[in-house]
């Protein structure tokens, strides 16, 4: 089984020492959200994840979900685990107190998402999808719908789904065919088939609320003609209990590469009663308001998997003895040293760890900016925070899910042949991590979102929200000898990112195809600079803590600096090749005629 202990000390370092989470309690509604409370919450979440969710990860993968006559059963133990989760109030963590939520900051729910994904990504899908449905309904539902349904989503007795994809449309939602006909009873009757519906049918909750994209009669073509509907599996009675079965059924579940314990259904809507959420033909806009949080959540899946992969690999590397150390410290009493002495093994471990730690800092920062964007009393500050979230979201989604995959593959490599064996639990991480690069907008789409939408928005206003604090930090620490190994390389990479930005913008203006051709490498270049900035700041915090005596934790802070130096010397240089690819332009991508493929 994979090893995982929630890295609470690292999490506290980022939340409190790097990001000053105590400032959250100055935001209206978050008065009680002190660092002490956040610590108590994540500590209990860690217990729940380690004791209940982690032991079900491997068995859930082996057993998978089963489908019989329209009924879907989750693997053994999932029902009890879910019951414990909702009994503890965890589905209500960051929800609105008006509907029974605990009203904790997004920063805390971001950490919670990481912990749950580390322990059991497939299990996390069920509450995760419910939370997506909660957000859409909370932002756009009528007061009556919110009063009727939100408390059930918040307390977790009912779950939710997002029904977007159809067989002929995934990325391009303008092509959907599901229809909504006005109806005297509920308002609308929904007919059509949706595929790839996570948590579409299962046995964890007494009712399931589907949020469905469909077209009204005579709606405009494309994405401007899509509306959002709420379609419950069971129609609620006047007392709020699940009543008559609605015209929605599960036709089958997919046999997937990974996250096998997460039921992915084909959902048939056959004249099902539905209620409009938001205005007619504004379905895409409703989806977009919750897209940032959902994409960040998928990024957290990647990060969570990377952490578990790293921990499993590090534990194995310390334990497994093969070969003698080449010139390094060796144990004369043993015929072989633990493989952690070998430079190439350390390379794999440190690549994963240095990017995971930087990714954690970057994503928690984004989580905290989500809180500011929502709660700050000053509209200018809200806008600023919102800009930064909008810019960082595609970068986090793509970079952290790529990291999840890379770290999982590295963990298999460190385990050698054992890594390829199911029981060791790391090959599962590879399979589970793979979907994160695909769903909630493929990483290619994230790159297009970055260059096509975010880059040029308001003449680069979003970019400035990131470039300014980085440039400021670098200028302020230019002469800081203690940070010389951090500031110099980051400044160089930032310069190249700015040059690449200008080039992509200029070429894209003339030929949009050029921006699209540069997108993925541009995003990777950006993510490396963003991670480098996080390492600069983390190293500065760690240096200060060491100078102040470190309170007995010198080795913890020294490790931050050591891992950061590795990132600067051996990971950040990758930015050069991405820079060169961006500058090379897209011409060679289009040379080969289609028939020659």
């Amino acid at each position: 089984m994979a090893s995982y202990t929630a890295p609470l000390r690292d999490m506290r370092f980022v939340m409190h020492e790097l990001l000053d989470s105590s400032s959250l309690s100055t935001l209206p509604g978050y008065e009680q959200a002190t660092p002490e409370l956040m610590d108590a919450v994540i500590e209990e979440a860690a217990k729940l994840a380690q004791d209940i969710l982690l032991p079900l990860n491997l068995s859930g993968d082996a057993e998978g979900c089963t489908y019989e006559n329209g009924v879907v059963r989750t693997p053994k133990g999932f029902k009890d685990a879910y019951a414990q989760m909702i009994a503890g109030g965890w589905t209500s963590l960051a929800c609105d107190p008006e509907f029974g939520g605990q009203g904790m900051p997004k920063l805390v729910s971001t950490v919670f998402e990481e912990i749950v994904s580390s322990a059991n990504t497939a299990f996390g899908m069920y509450p995760g999808l419910s939370h997506g449905a909660y957000r859409a309904l909370h932002a756009h539902g009528s007061e009556a719908l919110k009063k009727q349904y939100l408390p059930k989503l918040v307390d977790g007795t009912w779950s939710g789904t997002m029904c977007l994809t159809e067989s002929q449309c995934g990325t391009d939602l303008g092509l959907i065919r599901t229809r909504a006909e006005p109806d005297a009873d509920s308002g609308f009757r929904i007919t059509g088939t949706k595929i790839f519906i996570s948590a579409g049918e299962h046995d964890l909750t007494e009712n399931i609320l589907h949020l469905v994209l469909a077209k009204l009669p005579g709606a405009p073509a494309g994405t401007r003609g899509i509306s959002l509907f709420l379609v419950p599996k069971f129609l609620p009675t006047a007392e709020g209990r699940p009543g008559a079965r609605n015209g929605v059924s599960c036709g089958s579940i997919e046999h997937k590469m990974g996250i096998k314990a997460s039921a992915t259904g084909v959902m048939h809507f056959d004249g099902a009663q539905g209620w409009l959420v938001g205005r007619e033909n504004s379905g895409m806009r409703c989806m977009f308001t919750m897209m940032n949080a959902a994409r960040l959540a998928v990024g957290m899946q990647g990060l969570g998997l990377a952490e578990t992969a790293y921990q499993s690999a590090a534990a194995y590397a310390r334990d497994r003895r093969q070969g003698k150390s080449v010139g390094g410290k060796t144990d004369p009493a043993q015929v072989a040293d633990p493989i952690i002495v070998h430079p190439d093994v350390r390379r794999m471990l440190l690549e994963s760890r240095s990017m995971t730690e930087a990714g954690r800092a970057l994503s928690y920062w984004c989580g905290m900016e989500l809180d500011r964007a929502e709660r700050h009393p000053d509209p200018a500050m809200r806008q600023e925070a919102d800009d930064l979230v909008a810019l960082l979201t595609p970068i986090l989604k793509a970079a952290l899910t790529d990291l999840g995959s890379d770290a999982a593959n590295a963990a298999v490599q460190v385990h050698g042949g054992h890594g390829y064996i199911h029981e060791w639990g790391v090959e599962q991480l590879v399979r589970d991590a793979r979907i994160c690069q695909i769903y909630e907008g493929t990483n290619g789409i994230q790159a297009l979102d970055l260059v096509g939408r975010k880059l040029g928005q308001d003449t680069g206003r979003l970019l400035r929200r990131f470039f300014h604090p980085v440039a400021e930090f670098l200028a302020a620490h230019e002469q800081d000898a203690a940070l010389s190994e951090f500031v110099g390389p980051t400044a160089k990479a930032l310069g190249r990112l700015q040059q690449a930005t200008m080039t992509v913008a200029a070429r894209g203006m003339a030929r949009p195809e050029e921006a699209a051709a540069a997108a993925t490498d541009y995003l990777r270049l950006f993510s490396l600079v963003a991670m480098a900035f996080m390492w600069c700041r983390m190293a500065e915090v760690a240096q200060r803590a060491l100078q102040a005596g470190a309170n007995g934790e010198a080795s913890f802070y020294q490790a931050k600096i050591d891992v950061g130096k590795f990132f600067m010397a051996r990971v950040l240089p990758r930015h050069s090749s991405h820079f060169q690819v961006v500058m090379a332009g897209g011409e060679t991508l289009m040379l080969l005629p289609e028939v020659a493929f």
């Binding site: 729940l48 963590l93 605990q102």
Partner: protein, 249 residues
């Protein structure tokens, strides 16, 4: 009925304990600390007694550094009503803890004190027994089952080779064994409520106790490494080696 539950802050059971380089103790700086698992069982038992209507108030007590207040908060999140922190930076030994608890018992007048049979850091297994002796109260140690009935308490004890059931008159001291119950996870709403429950802070001197250690730690070392095994060719050789090398027969 009021119940007192002393809870100790110890190195988390998941942490691999390391001896300090200078051999004066074990490394606790930067190490994750948690409530002693046997004390979690004690809190759980007290909360269950309250849920059954037997107990009316649960007071969680911790003695030690200021950070012990977090251990008390954990107890409050599990269902204790209020906390008492006796703050000291000294390493407290069981006899000092028992004396302080005695003073607190005299102040609080509980009918029952439930505590872990031992703490997983030093494994002394002494505080409960000392407290009962100082108070002159009956004690039911190593409890795997507890029932309060007819003004008394029946405690099933885990003893060598089986179970022993004792009936105690109240007030009494009970120490918990592993099988007594399975502690609950604190719910999110209760974690939040715990932040608002009161914790009274005092010093050992307020209880008239001098916690200065009476024992001197000479040296803390890791257990010796196990030596590699040997293969023997015959039973005769085995017996010979056991006699001459291992000197066990």
């Amino acid at each position: 009925m009021k119940i007192l539950v002393p809870v100790k802050r110890v190195v988390d059971y998941n942490v691999k304990v390391r001896v300090k380089a200078d051999g004066t103790g074990v490394e606790t700086a930067g190490v994750k600390m948690s409530m002693n698992p046997f004390d979690e069982i004690a809190i759980e038992e007290a909360v269950r007694l309250k849920e059954k209507g037997v107990a009316t108030e649960i007071v969680a007590i911790s003695i030690g550094v200021a950070a012990c207040s977090e251990t008390i908060r954990t107890a409050l999140a599990m269902g204790a009503d209020r906390g008492v922190l006796v703050e000291t930076d000294m390493a407290v030994e069981p006899i000092a803890v028992a004396k302080m608890l005695k003073a607190l018992v005299e102040k609080e007048q509980p009918q029952l004190v439930i505590l872990g049979k031992q703490a997983i850091d030093d494994d002394m297994s002494a505080t409960g027994q000392m407290l009962a002796a100082l108070l002159g109260w009956p004690q039911g140690t190593f409890a795997s089952k507890v029932a309060v009935e007819n003004g008394g308490i029946t405690v099933t004890r885990e003893v060598d080779g089986g179970l022993e059931t004792v009936a105690l008159t109240l007030p009494a001291v009970v120490t918990t064994d592993l099988r007594l119950n399975e502690p609950r996870y604190a719910s999110l709403p209760n974690i939040r409520k715990a932040r608002k429950k009161p914790i009274e802070t005092m010093k050992p001197a307020d209880l008239g106790v001098d916690p200065t250690p009476r024992l001197t730690v000479l040296r803390v070392t890791e257990p010796p490494k196990r030596r590699a095994g040997q293969k023997v060719g015959s039973v005769a050789e085995l017996v010979m080696k056991l006699r001459t090398e291992a000197k066990v027969i």
